[in-house]
């Protein structure tokens, strides 16, 4: 299991910037029946990025249509949402979803948020065809893989809209300020330079501003990510 996890982490980390991640790899690594990866909400739009099988795709689609389900809850709480018994004890949580998933035999669902600092990107959905908890190791590994995926999806989205130049934007002087702002974010969220830089880039894109503008606000202490109590990465 650890081998599968390492392999999945390595595969995700070495993904080509434009490539879609492989959801089946996630399912294998986390020993669940299937997995799907989706972007959710206004920032990157709501769509399935990858699904390991038809049931995983259906699980996503249902949640999009119903506007409820673990992926939405995970994203808004910026925390994992675990339902090991969707058709039994947990059937009252999202009744319409449970009803629709009875026939396909989706018995357990686990959703992990895709977030970077305050940026809400999407979620990973895992399902099992038998009712059983994911377990602490599985939760930890899923969280770690979700953190890698978050960065990948954000980079991919920024690249798609031509905003991936990052620090190369602007003058030399701008870059200094952006590097300093990166340092502020490192200290605020306890993440690595790469993630901090990406967060500034994502924030700039979300607000339709330049990285230099956002960096100026961070260095002048008009903008801080430290206040947000949830949603930052624990994986370095």
């Amino acid at each position: 299991m650890a081998d599968h996890f390492d392999a999945a982490a390595a595969a995700l980390l070495s993904l080509d910037r434009d490539a879609a991640p492989d959801a089946a790899l996630l399912a294998d690594a986390l020993t669940v029946t299937g997995a799907s990866i989706s972007t959710l909400g206004d920032f990157l739009g709501t769509e399935t990025v990858a699904a390991s099988d038809d049931r995983a795709a259906r699980l996503d689609e249902l949640q999009f249509d119903l506007g409820q389900g673990p992926c939405w809850d995970a994203l808004s709480a910026a925390a994992p949402v675990l339902e090991p018994d969707l058709l039994g004890a947990g059937a009252t949580r999202w009744p319409a979803l449970s009803d629709a998933l009875r026939d396909p035999g989706v018995a357990a669902v686990f959703a992990f948020p895709l977030v970077l600092g305050p940026l809400r990107l999407g979620a990973v959905d895992l399902y099992s065809d038998r009712a059983a908890p994911l377990g602490p190791v599985g939760e930890e590994q899923a969280t770690a893989l979700a953190a890698i995926l978050s960065r990948h999806l954000l980079r991919r989205a920024l690249r798609a809209v031509g905003q991936d130049e990052g620090v190369d934007q602007g003058s030399r002087f701008s870059r200094r300020v952006i590097h300093q702002a990166t340092g502020f974010v490192i200290a605020q969220l306890g993440i690595d330079p790469d993630g901090a830089h990406l967060l500034i880039q994502g924030q700039a894109f979300a607000e339709g501003r330049s990285m230099r503008d956002v960096a100026d606000d961070i260095v002048a202490r008009r903008l801080s990510f430290a206040a947000s109590s949830n949603g930052f990465e624990e994986v370095r």
């Binding site: 870059r175 340092g183 502020f184 490192i186 430290a226």
Partner: protein, 236 residues
């Protein structure tokens, strides 16, 4: 400053630079020492050292003040001003009166705002290779006296040798990598300034002073201390 004093300072400076060349040394520390020495021993008030990134753009890697005003003035001079001209032409560009002349209006305005009356830009070159410029700002107008000019050029030569190293001269891509190392170190130092500025709620200038003081006290390279702060293995 008395003549004896100045001579002693210059001698000390050459001795320090020579020492760094024989021992294991850090390029960035060498350059920081150089700019500080110039400001102390020569008749100038602020000094900044620009290095080429290989694409023809100059980046500030060491300066006597980290104030954003000085950094910006030098950045403007590196984009359109005497600094880039000295680099491109590989010769000294002396501007004895910043208030008198039509060239580089943005640079003149920025320099004047900080109370500078004159500037001298000295190329860092060895044989056919020019790698950057040493820029000396004076509060008074007028040309730099012969003595100081000679001393500044000699210091620039020693620094250039230090940056390039004997062995690096054999291959141009090694020159490139040595420069890249210095420039990347500067990125990490900017990030470390941000980390410390947030952690202690101080200005980025004060953060740099703290990093520099700590590096000196513990006899470690500036870049190493900065890296420790950024990867959070060190807190000061």
């Amino acid at each position: 400053m008395t003549t004896v004093n100045r001579e002693e300072l210059l001698l000390d400076a050459f001795a320090t630079l020579a020492d760094t060349l024989v021992a294991d040394y850090d390029v960035l520390d060498l350059l920081q020492t150089l700019v500080e020495t110039c400001a102390t021993a020569l008749d100038v008030s602020q000094v900044g050292l620009l290095l080429s990134d290989g694409s023809g753009e100059l980046e500030l890697v060491a300066s006597t003040s980290e104030s954003s005003a000085l950094v910006e003035t030098i950045a403007i001079g590196a984009a359109e001003g005497p600094c880039i001209d000295a680099f491109t032409a590989s010769r000294v560009v002396s501007v004895p009166d910043l208030g008198d002349g039509a060239e580089w209006p943005a640079f003149r305005a920025s320099a004047a705002q900080q109370g500078f009356g004159s500037v001298v830009c000295i190329p860092l070159k060895l044989r056919d290779t020019t790698i950057g410029t040493l820029n000396l700002f004076g509060e008074e107008t007028g040309v730099l006296n012969d003595r100081d000019m000679k001393a500044a050029q000699a210091l620039a030569h020693v620094a250039t040798i230090g940056i390039l190293q004997e062995r690096a001269l054999r291959k141009s891509d090694e020159i490139r990598s040595q420069l890249e190392f210095a420039l990347n170190s500067r990125v990490v130092i900017e990030q470390a300034k941000g980390v410390l500025a947030h952690t202690h709620q101080i200005s980025t200038e004060a953060a740099f002073d703290a990093i520099r003081a700590y590096a000196r006290k513990t006899r470690q390279p500036l870049a190493l201390v900065a890296r420790g702060l950024v990867d959070r293995s060190l807190s000061i």
